[in-house]
Every structure is written in C-alpha cells, then in structure tokens.
C-alpha cells in the first residue's frame, strides 16, 4: 500500500507503508523543504503532522514514541517529552501550542503480478 500525503491539492506518494514500523515514525521531506512526521499505529492507521517540535525548533517529532491516551493517539517529543495529539496536532501538555496536521492516505497500488 502506498502512503500518500496531501500536498498542494494533490496526493504526493511517499513510501510503501510497510516501511514504517507500527508504533514508530519516520520523517518525509516535502518539495518545499518542509518536513512531515509520519506514523503508523498498531491497527495500521497512518498519521502525519509537522516534524518540527515547536518547543525546541528541532525537526524531531518523527523520532518520538507514540502512545494512546483516552483512545486518542499521540506522539511524545523525544527532546522535552511534550505530547501531541496525532489527529489534531494539539499539544496535550500546553493548550496554547499545536503543530500542523497533514492529510494522509494509503492507496492500493495496481497489482504487479
């Protein structure tokens, strides 16, 4: 299954979703230089938020640990450990902070047999 990000009103293919370890993230580079953190959870759902940790400015959110609280998925920044909701981008530890959320989908590639 191809993982695609919404970019400039189009779907940008990123990678095969099996490349992502369930429960872990990876970063993707957008054509405009922005970085996106992609995650896959145990159930196989994908999420995409900005990779930049707003508390430190470092592009590291993709390297955080993911978890769920009250049924909602989050990632904890690897630097200072603030958590961000993967669906809304809201910071769970500081209500004034949020990161951008990107639309993501997985698409069956035409079978090559």
């Amino acid at each position: 299954m191809m993982l695609e990000l919404s970019y400039d009103d189009e779907w940008l293919p990123i990678c095969d979703d099996s490349v992502l370890t369930p429960g872990r993230g990876m970063a993707a580079l957008l054509p405009d230089g922005r970085q996106v953190a992609l995650f896959r959870d145990r159930a196989g759902r994908s999420y995409a938020i900005d990779n930049r940790d707003p508390f430190t400015g470092a592009q590291v959110l993709s390297r955080g640990l993911i978890g769920s609280a009250g049924g909602r998925p989050f990632v904890a920044s690897p630097l200072l450990k603030q958590r961000f909701d993967l669906e809304t981008g809201r910071c769970l530890d500081d209500e004034d902070v949020a990161v951008a959320v990107h639309e993501v989908r997985t698409r069956e590639l035409a079978a090559v047999s």
């Binding site: 993707a28 145990r42 430190t56 400015g57 592009q59 904890a76 690897p78 630097l79």
Partner: protein, 839 residues
C-alpha cells in the same frame, strides 16, 4: 466617575504582604487605589527564615512577593520611605520623602523592634540586633574580623542568632536572664534537655544572669560584665532580648495603645479610629495580647482585609501560640497550654537526658489533651497539635514513649476531626486540606504548608494516595511487578502484555511513552536479544532507537566504550581521525571517555563502521544500562596504590557492559583509600584494601548526591564479582522504573541490612538464580553496533527522510566555535514555516 477609595498600608513586612494578597483575593485591588509605605530597602521577605540567609539563601530567595504581583494588582509600593506622621483629622499620611498621601482607610503593619536593654556600652561598635536582612549583612561583615560573639537573650530568636554566630565560625556565648533557655516556650525539664544538647554543640550558656554592661575599648566591644560578677570576653554582641511593638506612629496621632505597648484593636482589627486598622506584631489584640508570631499576624491580616472588603470577617479573638522550630539542629515544639496553667491539669513526662529528649503532655482530668512541650524529638508535633482540645484515642503515655518502647503507636492524622487545624501558619483545617487532591493544589488553594513547612508531612498523609501504584495509565503494576509477570509468563511481546495485563481501557491501544521503554528494558534484562528487532523497535526511547544520544538540534552524539578509561594511542588517533573526517565536536566526558557530537542520523552507520573496525564498541551512553567503570591509575603507577584498580575496572566494565537496568548504572574502582576514582559516589564502587576490595553500593552523584554504603569488606576478586552480580540482578528485579540504586536502597524495606541478608547471607535463597541470570547476560553479550552494521535490514532506519534516503537533514547545521563546531540554533528559532499553524 465614582470615587476610588485609597487604602494606605504602612509597613511591608510578612503580615503587610499577606494583607495585600488577601485584598487581591477579594478583588479589592480592582476597586481601590492601594499605596504601601515600606521602610526597608526591599519588599516583604520571609523574616521567619531570616537565618537561612546564612545557609546560602540569598535575599531574593527569601522574598515573599511573587514576581509581578504589585504591577498585576496596580499596587504602588514605595521602598525605603517610612511613614513619619499621620494626620487623622485630614486623613493623610506623610512619609520621610515628603509624600503626603490621603487615605480613606489606613492599615498599620509596622511590626516590632528588637528590645535593647539600657546598659552602658549598648551602642558600641560591634553591637547588633537581629531583625532584618540588613542586620544580618552587618553581622556577617563584622564577624569576619571577630573570634568570639555573645548573644544577649536565650529565647527563640536568641538561640537562632547564636546558631548563626556559631555558623560564622565564632566561639559563641548565650546569656539568658531567666533560669532556663527558651523560658516562654518550654518548661524546666525541656529547658534542661535543650541546655545539654546546646552545650554539647560547643556553645557556652550562662543562664540566670543578666547583662550589666558592654565593655569597650576605643568605642569597640571587648566583652560583657554579667550581673553575677563574671565577665565574658567577646568581640561582638547581638541583642536578642525580646521585641516591642512599633506603635510610636499610633501614639503620636493619639490612637489608643496598650499599657505595655501595642496598638489597641478590636476583634475586627480596628483601632480606636474606625478608619485605621492595625495588624501583626504592632497590634494589641482584643484579648489584650501582643502576638510575636507570624501565624496570628496572618489571621489578623485576613480579618482586616475581609472587614475592609465589607465581607463577613472572622473575628480575631486570640490565637494559639504553638511553635515548632529547629534551633541549632534541635527540634523544639510547644503547643497549647504548654506550661500547664489550667486548673487541675496533669502532666505526662518522658525524659531521656542521654539523648537530649524531653516530652511533656498536659492533659485535663478527663484525659483531654491541653498542650505540650517536645524537645529533641518533635516528630509527633504535627499530629499532637491538632489533637489539642480532644481526647486522644490512646493513653497519653503512649504518645510520648519513643518508638520501640512498649507497644508502639502510630496514630494517623486520619483520626483527627475535620475541624482540626493542620497548618497553624495559615489556619487551615483538615477538612479544607482533604478537599484537595495534591500537595501543589493544597498550597495553591489554602496556602497550607507555605509558611514554616512543619505541617507538610501530615498534609501528605491526609492526601489520597494515587489510586494505585501503577506505572502509568496503561499498567496497574509497578516495574518490579511487571518484571515478575514477564519473567513467569516468559512473555516477549509488549502488545501481548498490554492486552493481557494492561488496564481495561488501555488494552488494544498503543501503550505510552512511559511503559514502552520500561517493558523494553525488562525484556532486554531478561533475554538480552538485539533491542531493535521486530516489535521491540517500537518500544525503545529515541536514543536507544538510534543507538546514540539525541542533542538539542536533532543531531546525535557518539560515545565509544573506553573500559576503565584506559586507551591506547592508536585508538586515540582513530577517534581523532573519525572526528576530523566527519567534522564532529569532541569533548572529554565526566565519565573518563570521549564524546563525539554533531552527527546526522544518516552518518551514524558510517562513523560506527570506522570505529568498530578499529576495535571500539558501543558505550551505551544512550541506554539505561551500564555506563562507565571509572578507574584511578592504581598500584601499577601510583606510590600509594595497593591493588590494580585499572584492571579491575576494565574487568567489571567488560562484564556488565550492555546490561539493561531500571536506570543507568555507574561504577568506579580506586586503588587505595584516597579514592581518586570517587567510587563512593557510584551505584557500585570498589575501593582497594591491603587484603582485597571493599564494595560500596547505592552511591549517586547528580542532583541528590548520596554516599554509597559499605556492603562488604576485604573481598577477593572472585568474591567481589559474585557479590556485584547478585547485587545488580536483585536491583534490576526489584527497582522501580527510573529508580537508581541510591533511591532504591533508600526505599528498600530493611535498608542495607536487608540487602546484605539477601545478597551476602542468601536469606531468601535467591542467590543462585541471581548469579545464573547474570551469567546468562555475560554469555549472551554482543556489541549492538557491530550487530547493526552487519545487517542491511537493521541499517534501514538510519535515514533522515523515508522518501529521500540520500538527502541530509537541512535543519542540522553548525557554526564554528573555539576551533570546533556547535549547533546553529538560529535555524531552529525561525518562526514556524508558513502553514505550520494548527488547523
């Protein structure tokens, strides 16, 4: 526009500040203009803790005014500008600087001044009082040239002052007119216990004698003549013979004052002029007393503020004079009717002059507790004071006996009624405390615990324990319980564990950032398999995930293992070459090895290829695992050394490398008792003796340092290693998540003795198993970096971007500094890129 009334506060001390806070809490600061005249050059500070200035607190630490408080509430504060006159007719106050301020309401909170007995020489150079920060600064300065100091007054403040002089290195005398120390607070027996303890500390106490004259030479103090005919040679004198209310302003404008001083006020703290209030130590309360403690002053502040806010105020009819102090390291407490003045009251006394403990409870004939005195051990004060006025649930003698004598009683504060005052500084009841759920909340909502702090322990006992001791929202178990579950289930899967043993609501979910690494560590301790395969890859903390330490700009540092800190020139050269070729910043660490900073994720495999080829392996600087075993140079070179400490350090480091634990593990080996390797600050430290090795455990550096405890002496090499094996495995098995050995040992029931029973005397019959676990670890050790480099699958994660594996991360940039690099933080602080705001 409606008239905005003006409230003028004269005196910005502890009570004055509490009054301002009370006005703000009631919204009065929004409806009225508030002007404060403060005589001292600084805003209100914690006079009660004045002496802690000598323990290294700065005047700023003592401040009682939260940053921005005055500005936020629009309060005008004039420092260094005392009120000089009051015109009650015109309703104005005139300050020394010439300000004339019209008031609608005037509040006097001028406190007290130290009483200096009118003896000849009292104004000589070298005479001081003990009331303000400025007094302390002056005492400190003068003490630099002095050898001896004498304090006039053996009361509460006198003993504090004496402690301060002693702390400044002076030979210290205390002169008290009464026949015992602290005559107001303690009775004769208590005074005697106090005297012994204080004399044991090397202070010279003269009781039952007064100061007749301060002897001087050229205007400077040289000694004191006492009324018993003796003289004391001293370079300085601190007067601490009681305080007197500062009521002169009030007298001058014709307000009523008490016979022995103090501005007379009614139960609502109003003076004889209803527009003028007086609160704190300058006031004589409706019960005719002048209170020299801060808690009654705070109550008055609340009463006055509520009255001014036109709320129903709690009348101030008098207060409890209970106190608990730590004077010169001795606990002293008195509460209620400490002197037993009530009709027909009885005493229960426990006294042990060997250890300086004296406890007396005063009860009425029906057994109702009226008060008491505790000297030397005031542990039970927090419990006993709130019980005053009630009949304790056990016989009073059981309340004064030391633990271990007869049937020990431990009375929980749970047995107290809701109305019992738990915090006497802020008059907070048990009921109010129980309405909160955490200590920070209690402090915020009730202020309890923010005064002298003596009630905090009881408050903690009253607060609900967390619902369970579970590690996080996912598991209701502690780490050591989870360890046992994993061990007995032989489970190797986090997901399985979460779904079978997680909390109901967490099953099937993702887990969280707390339990994932903890379970990963347990799995690693038990199986020692490659930590990044399969599901375990998702559990590791970021640092373990990349086998390197993430730095502030997202780059990584690399720490190759350098066992015992010993390294050949060839290996040093390789490190230098690698650092040079990849442009890394190099630094000698605090752990006797070398850290290379500034690598991008995608560079890590290439850097490690070079290092592994040269014979280096992972130093696990990223893991909760063995870090370093530091060594001193030892017998081989050092003239004092008695054993080969370097060899032992290397052996230990190689034995325990890669061992994953609840927290990091550090060790050191010193070649003799001079301890150059600082082994006693390590989780396990080894010091050579003429006969072998001494093993110390539970040491810690860091923020809460702890000296390690000696576990066993004069061990052979084999005995030493066997004992460390057992110790480490027992720790790994029973410690909490992120609990280092120091904290674990502190918590371990039975402490060091228990530990010794288990790992030395094998009391639990565990030792074989512990040794077998360690043997399995040692046998299965592999270098994580070598294993990673040998497997292309495992190398796949080392890219900056999943869709552009060859692109370096453009946000990781460096700038030069002192001939090396440092992170370019300007890139990181740029405003968020366009579109990067929340949707």
């Amino acid at each position: 526009m409606a008239h905005m009334p003006t409230i003028v506060l004269v005196g910005h001390g502890m009570v004055g500040q509490r009054f301002l806070e009370a006005l703000a809490e009631r919204g009065v600061t929004e409806r009225a203009r508030i002007v404060v005249l403060c005589e001292e050059p600084r805003p209100a500070y914690d006079r009660v803790r004045l002496t802690s200035y000598f323990d290294g607190r700065t005047p700023d630490d003592l401040s009682m005014v939260e940053d921005g408080f005055m500005a936020r509430h629009g309060i005008e504060l004039h420092l260094d500008d005392p009120a000089e006159t009051i015109d009650r007719e015109a309703r104005t106050v005139t300050s020394r600087a010439g300000r004339v301020i019209a008031y609608d309401t005037l509040v006097l909170a001028t406190g007290s001044y130290p009483f200096v007995p009118p003896v000849p020489g009292k104004d000589a150079t070298g005479c001081f009082v003990y009331r303000t920060i400025e007094d302390l600064l002056a005492i400190e300065e003068y003490a630099k040239t002095a050898r001896t100091g004498a304090v006039v007054g053996g009361g509460l403040l006198g003993l504090e002052a004496a402690g301060a002089l002693k702390g400044l290195g002076l030979e210290t005398h205390v002169v008290e007119f009464a026949p015992r120390l602290m005559p107001v607070q303690v009775d004769e027996g208590g005074g005697a216990a106090l005297l012994r303890t204080i004399e044991n500390m090397g202070l010279v106490v003269h009781t039952g004698t007064g100061t007749q004259e301060v002897l001087t030479e050229d205007g400077s103090v040289t000694g004191m003549a006492l009324s018993d005919g003796t003289t004391v040679a001293t370079d300085m004198v601190v007067f601490s013979a009681g305080v007197r209310p500062r009521d002169q302003l009030a007298r001058d404008c014709g307000l009523a004052v008490g016979e022995r001083g103090g501005i007379a006020v009614d139960e609502l703290c109003r003076t004889s002029d209803p527009a003028v209030y007086a609160i704190g130590e300058c006031a004589m309360a409706a019960d005719g007393r002048v209170y020299g403690l801060v808690a009654p002053g705070y109550e008055m502040a609340l009463t006055a503020a509520a009255t001014i806010a036109e709320e129903e105020a709690k009348a101030f009819t008098g207060a409890d004079m209970s106190t608990k102090l730590k004077l010169l390291g001795v606990d002293v407490a008195s509460f209620g009717d400490a002197h037993g003045t009530a009709d027909g009251c009885l005493d229960v006394v426990y006294s042990d002059s060997r250890s300086g403990i004296y406890k007396k409870l005063v009860v009425d004939p029906d057994g109702v507790l009226l008060g008491g005195v505790l000297v030397g051990d005031a542990e039970s004060y927090g419990m006993l004071r709130p019980m005053t006025g009630t009949k304790p649930p056990v016989a009073p003698e059981q309340l004064v006996l030391p633990a271990g004598a007869g049937a020990p009683v431990s009375l929980g504060p749970q047995s107290l009624p809701d109305e019992a005052i738990i915090c006497s500084c802020h008059n907070v009841t048990k009921g109010a405390i129980c309405a909160c759920s955490s200590l920070p909340e209690v402090k915020k909502c009730t202020k309890a615990g923010t005064g002298c702090g003596s009630c905090v322990k009881v408050i903690q006992q009253l607060l609900p324990k967390p619902a369970d001791s579970g590690m996080c929202g996912c598991f209701p178990y502690t780490r050591s319980e989870l360890y046992e579950i994993v061990r007995t289930m032989r489970s190797t899967s986090y997901a399985q564990l979460l779904d079978s043993h997680g909390r109901e609501e967490a099953r099937g979910g993702e887990g969280c950032e707390i339990c994932k690494p903890a379970v990963a560590s347990i799995l690693a301790s038990l199986t020692n398999e490659y930590i990044l395969d399969g599901e375990r890859a998702a559990l590791q903390d970021t640092n373990d995930h990349f086998l390197a330490n993430m730095q502030r700009n997202g780059s990584y540092s690399i720490v190759p293992r350098i066992p015992g800190g010993e390294i050949t020139p060839e290996k040093l050269i390789v490190i230098g070459e690698v650092a040079r070729d990849f442009g890394l910043y190099t630094k000698i660490t605090g752990g006797q090895r070398i850290d290379l900073f500034g690598a991008r994720v995608d560079q890590l495999p290439r850097i490690w290829t070079r290092l592994v080829d040269a014979g280096f392996e992972s130093g696990h600087a990223y893991g909760k695992s063995l870090r370093t075993v530091k060594s001193c140079v030892g017998r081989t070179w050092c003239r004092y050394g008695v054993q080969d400490s370097v060899k032992m350090a290397i052996d230990l480091e190689l034995r325990y490398r890669g061992l994953r634990a609840p927290h990091k593990l550090k060790s050191a080996v010193s070649g003799c008792a001079r301890e150059c390797a600082e082994a006693q600050s390590k989780d396990f430290g080894v010091i050579a003796t003429a006969n072998g090795w001494n093993l110390y455990v539970g040491g810690n550096g860091g923020a809460t340092p702890r000296h390690a405890d000696l576990l066993a002496q004069d061990l052979s090499d084999a005995e030493l290693i066997r004992l460390i094996d057992r110790f480490l495995m027992f720790y790994i098995r029973t410690a909490d998540r992120l609990e280092r050995t120091a904290a674990w040992l502190e918590r371990l029931e039975g402490g060091l003795d228990h530990l010794r029973d288990v790992v030395v005397h094998d009391k639990l019959g565990l030792c074989d198993e512990l040794e077998a676990l360690m043997a399995a670890h040692v046998a299965s050790y592999h270098d994580e970096w070598a294993e990673t480099l040998n497997d292309p699958e495992r190398l796949r994660r080392f890219v900056s971007f999943v869709n552009a594996p060859d692109a370096p991360d453009p946000s990781v940039k460096f700038v030069p500094e002192r001939g090396q690099i440092k992170p370019d933080l300007t890139i990181l602080t740029l405003e968020p890129l366009e579109g990067a705001s929340a949707r």
